[in-house]
Symmetry: C2
Subunit: 360 residues, 2 copies
């Protein structure tokens, strides 16, 4: 009795015991009634629900997690440069991808936790995750191997390098995208295509660059490229300038990173080059600003929304042990959004409209 009083006078939230006592039933009945399990008459169910509502009862997430082993939390791990969680160059991509992932997770009753890969270990072990999404994991990522060792499903955005044992992955076909794009530029009249690339060794940069080199070899063009540390927003402008200052100046450029479009446009203005007449321009970006620049710039979209959605679906399937017919290795097609900057002879005077927000 003194126990009951202690509980009853407890500060804060009401527990399942209080509900059981107030409803005149047992704890089991309350649990079953609220979770829709067991075999109870509807009258009891309604009664218990009503009492729970009246007391403002909210089940303890921690206790439920401890008991069931499922927390309903998914980690969203993003590679970091320096001490900031995500890098400048991937802003729009990450934002869109995270947005889609959050939506998809929420629709299936999960929430997303942002966890930088380089974060202190104590934070990682302090949150109970059901699984993790890893964006572009590095070669032998210690975080990934540790998670896999703990038996947690890990789905990566980006084909895992080496023998990284992820549960599933989703990626674009970066090589095909670059080859397509270079063909597009060549068809528009480009004779010497330059590349603005990064000095980092992540998969995206590596695959795109080798695709460029092999394309050059195939068509017999000397490669013309500049590499810079992609995490430094100022270095991009400098590298764009360097590329256009070369004696073997290209008449078309593809920039691998989001801000390269404005960087290259500014550099072209500085050298008095007209776009697209003197210089064709394409960059990889998710930003809508390139629809309204002067001139509008052709972009390669990696479809981050589809990737974010796919990654989360795969992860939750793995968590819940559902054997869907979804392949565990998915390749999402890219989309080349052709605008003025890559058309030497604009066949129409109309400008492609801004992308609809309700795209898939």
């Amino acid at each position: 009795m003194s126990r009951a009083q202690t509980r009853g006078s407890r500060q804060g939230r009401a527990g399942i015991r209080d509900v059981a006592a107030a409803a005149g039933v047992s704890i089991t009945t309350v649990s079953d009634a609220l979770n829709g399990k067991g075999r109870l008459p509807d009258a009891t169910r309604r009664h218990v629900r009503e009492v729970a509502d009246r007391l403002g009862y909210r089940p303890s997430a921690a206790a439920r997690t401890l008991r069931t082993g499922k927390s309903g939390l998914i980690g969203l791990t993003v590679t970091t440069y320096g001490d900031e969680p995500f890098t400048f160059t991937e802003f729009a991509y990450f934002a869109e991808m995270a947005r889609a992932a959050t939506s998809a997770a929420l629709a299936r009753g999960y929430a997303l936790v942002i966890l930088p890969a380089t974060s202190r270990h104590d934070v990682w072990s302090n949150v109970a995750l059901d699984g993790t999404v890893v964006i572009d994991p590095s070669d032998h990522d210690p975080v990934v191997t540790e998670l896999v060792r703990q038996g947690l499903p890990v789905v990566s955005d980006g084909r895992p390098a080496g023998t990284l044992p992820v549960t599933a992955w989703v990626d674009n076909d970066h090589e095909a995208a670059v080859l397509d794009l270079l063909d597009h530029l060549a068809a528009a009249g480009a004779r010497r295509i330059g590349l603005l690339t990064g000095t980092t060794t992540d998969t995206y940069t590596r695959l795109s660059t080798t695709a460029y080199l092999s394309w050059c070899e195939r068509v017999g063009q000397d490669p013309v490229y500049e590499a810079y540390p992609a995490h430094d927003p100022c270095a991009g402008a400098v590298a764009a300038d360097r590329l256009l200052a070369r004696p073997d100046r290209p008449d078309a450029v593809y920039g691998l990173f989001d801000p390269n479009g404005t960087d290259l446009l500014a550099a072209a203005r500085r050298y008095g080059l007209r776009v697209p007449d003197d210089l064709l321009l394409v960059c990889c970006s998710e930003s809508t600003v390139y629809a309204a620049t002067e001139p509008p710039i052709t972009t390669l979209s990696l479809k981050p929304r589809r990737i974010g959605t796919a990654v989360v679906q795969l992860l939750i399937d793995a968590i819940e042990g559902i054997d869907t017919d979804r392949p565990v290795e998915q390749v999402i097609p890219t989309e080349l959004i052709v605008r003025t900057s890559s058309q030497r002879r604009p066949p129409r005077t109309t400008v492609s409209p801004p992308r609809s927000p309700s795209q898939e």
Copy 2:
């Protein structure tokens, strides 16, 4: 003994019991040794740590949360339009703010959970939060009142409207910022300043608009503005067009939302207006693209990184019951980044350099 065997042969992770058994000490000793509590000789501490490492022991976050009542998780709630977690117009702001908030939280041992305000209730109650950051809560936000009722600290980004009982808040002085900005335009020679604003009733839009109206009244100018639903990216371009098509066409425009800069620039081109000669332009944005547009556009920065950091610091202080000397109502100054678009007579030929990434 059969118990011990059952435990020993358990699949998956090792528990604190296993560590205690392997180290030949009690559970208490293990807990104290790993958490740096109690009074133990260093030899015992080292021994226990070593055994724990050898077994790959990771304490269960759920059990710890259940016992201590602290989860180390902070909610990041963002208002939603439609079914997507965050809106288009706030992309750069939200991304920067979330990035800073994540960093600040991580530095103090917390992780962030993204939780849209309109999400289903079951997701909210399924995650154990120590507190929540709310971005721009609406008037009588039901989520906020519910959280406060549960005794959780809530810190809002944006001055809470009405009598919303938040623990603390951080905001810009939007009125002062707009007044300053309008003075800046007037000093640059603007005679009739127009406004591109939103139809929503959130605090930011409301305060900025009333500041504009009161400034107009003070200087005796007729207000010239167009409002549009800010969550629709296409509507912005249309509204920008409408504003410049008016018979009382303004010779300077301030756009409240991030994409308004490119929208207005495109509209000006359509009407053959030169910037800044025929039209002065300023918009509120965190995007770096406006440093490289033609011409570069003056922007008002709300300093989302400082806001994100401040919000998290206040929240964690409240969670941990620390009585700092930090004020619970903080006003962060805005920054007007003056570029060519708002200077009728460019005094220099140099263009302001892109902002350094290492700004505070």
